[in-house]
Amino acid sequence: MTEIERHAYDVVVIGAGGAGLRAAIEARLQGKKTAVISKSLFGKAHTVMAEGGAAAAMGNVNPNDNWQVHFRDTMRGGKFLNNWRMAELHAKEAPDRVWELEHWGALFDRTKDGKISQRNFGGHEYPRLAHVGDRTGLELIRTAQQKIVALQQEDHREHGDYDARLKVWAETTVTRLLKDGDRICGAFAYVRETGRFVVFEAPAVVLATGGIGKAFKVTSNSWEYTGDGHSLAMLAGATLLNMEFVQFHPTGMVWPPSVKGLLVTESVRGDRGVLKNSDGKRFMFEYIPEVFKSQYATSEEEGDRWYDDPDNNKRPPELLPRDEVARAINSEVKAGRGSPHGGVFLTVVDRMPGGAAEIVKRLPSMHHQFKELADVDITKEAMEVGPTCHYVMGGVEVDPDTAAALVPGLFAAGEVAGGMHGSNRLGGNSLTDLLVFGRRAGLGASEYVDALAERPPVSAEVVEAAEREAMAPFERKGGENPYTVHAELQQMMNDLVGIIRKEEELAQAIEGLEKFRERVANVSVEPVAVNDGRGYHPGWHLALDLRNMLLVSEAIAKAALERQESRGGHTRDDYPVMSPEWRKVNLVCRLTGDGSAPRVELRRQPMEPMRDDLIGLFETDELKKYLTDGELPGAGGPVAEEAAGGAETAEEAAGDAGARPDAGEAGDGGQAAAPKGGATAAGAVEAGGEDNEEGDR
């Protein structure tokens, strides 16, 4: 084996999206020599796709907003499965993180009195999302990127070298975390341009690698989202929390193929868009579940009146919770009433009083997206939409305050970390999650490094093992093409572990994953024709990513089979009700068995009871929807027992189901975030329409 170059840092951050950049900034501000490892070019990470905004209770638009209200909304959105301490820290610190961005040069949209403007969004009681039109993610990542450059300029003035204390390793991929005994000592990576291997010697590593969407066929996620951090963490001995919770958005583009899965914002439905099948029928009226009958319109006429007069009419069923809409779309397609490309029709044609001009004004980015990518003019034609994999709530189990994983020296922040969003993420909470916990991870890693007596060495053995693993696809001859294996894995995950799950299918998926395990271990690639054959080699790259997607798929499938209830981003056809007993359970994944062929093992871990002052923020009536009677404040003795008996009745179960689907619903008894003072009817539509919107748009 050839000599491999080594670089020593105090803190290595893997991932250069919002969380990774914020972590790196913090580590550098703490005086640590820091590296950011980015799978793509600097500034291209998936954070750029976020549109809606960054949720922070600044109270700029409605002064009644504060961290307690935000905390409550987040817990409701996550169906109380959130790590409450993370939700608390997030709600408390988000405003400072947003103001800090502004201090680094971000230009948010403004209120009339010159403050940062805030918009309504699904599940948020008050207008709370700081935003820049519909490109907030781009603003966030560009600002963090420019802050990194600013720090590099400081170092350049001081040391004559921009990279002296903070270096961005663009287009570099980590394939293994390295350990010395039970603690982290570095990471093994390769530089994409040349394929050369690099060892990072570092006592602290922050994972900020984002999500897992590329394990599914239809996803709104970019190519980087292959579960790298989830998998690296497990391979290093850390644990993943509640991986069954995967957010599927009901309306992604299904055509053209180049953008299949790309999100179609829920504002389309909030702005009078309706769903139709191939018979031209507004089918959602057929799919209003019993528990929602009282809250949704039963005729098209009433539904249509709601947009202008929400106080005296019921909402159209297009605005049912996300999983209900997705389920309905699935059923229509299965019944043969789908659109030509396997979705259903979503149309705003002739739906707005102001005609085509109003459509363009209200939905500029959607108009642009369909015009440019599908050659579809949404003012004249219907869109074709279907469910798409959007976000994973599950992730690395971390300490809320320091972002430390169970392995000493390992930290995680952003989508790769678990707990913050419980079973379901509210739109807008992701961008502030990145900032709050990115900073905390950078801080946690710095403090960890400060407390170390000595640096853990990186032994030649661990490096050699990592190199062997990375080279393996070249060593194998005549194996399968990684693209084929990937496409089939994605198809299976979509078909069997997708938005609606049932026992037989999950069991079948777990069986199928066994076969994929062999196939993934067997893919082979040929070197490219130049240099040592590894430079910018897409097939090799995918071959290495496959290991990660396989492990993550196994974690999701096993956890999904285990959790026998429906909650947030986990819908079981065979267990449609949310169960307070299951709420007390975290499902924790770790790897066991032989290091060369590890398996995901699942363990039930009790949820830590919420602190009294936090639980005191909720009314007991609301808590009853989520908690067992024994958990309610003041519970105990005969009262609790009596209530426990009552929970067995169908009525209670229905109440649970009603509470299940979404945030605002659960929070205020089924009413969508009501229009706030001064909001127009259209504003109400927006607020209501996005009530179920869990993504960033």
Binding site: E100, G105, V149, Y162, A170, E193, S258, G535
Partner: protein, 256 residues
Amino acid sequence: MSYEASFRVWRGDDGAGELKDYKVEVNEGEVVLDIIHRLQATQAPDLAVRWNCKAGKCGSCSAEVNGMPRLMCMTRMSTFEPDETITVTPVRTFPVIRDLVTDVSFNYEKAQQIPSFDPGDVKPGEFRMQQVDVERSQEFRKCIECFLCNNVCHVIRDHEENKPGFAGPRFLMRIAELEMHPADAADRREIAQQDHGLGFCNITKCCTEVCPEHIKITDNALIPMKERVVGRRYDPLVWLGSKLGVVRKGQDTPSA
């Protein structure tokens, strides 16, 4: 509605290369990047291409399609005739790494030389800015850094010798963005001209034409920036005033 298209794709590294011919399936609704990916998956597993979001939001898949600088993910196949040969080459202004991937480090180096946002003495949370005032810079912050503007700019497209003294439209626009930022306290007018080559720009608007975000780079950033530089350097009253010591010149912020 599938058909077989003729593609010519540039294959090679920084040493040498050639245009290679491929016959490849095209389906309805696809974009150029889909076809490149199909080549990877079926005929050329080692074909190097840089891409990311595939939705025109990250600016990674810049290339030249039939000689036009484009994002491959935003170039629909339906804009070509089925019998047309489509030629895909790497962007010309930056050195080729391999195939369609180029070394764009020029851009990151230029970014490091532009002095960053300077908030002055204002504390976080204390900024008060009007929407109308932030909108000018917001337009420039729509930039997805695809670097097609820098690629197409004739000042450096075929003039390697101009690269050290020219930041390109992308980063001259960054200077304009900071200059028009309502809360920025630095003054980059002098370095815009002196270090970053604003004077090279003779407003041919090629950059504006290729911008996938439709930012009016020339009209809204470069020309106003030129006017500001003129005001700083050549305004006779300012000149006279500073000579007499009546007008105190602001601090010019040096390049970083």
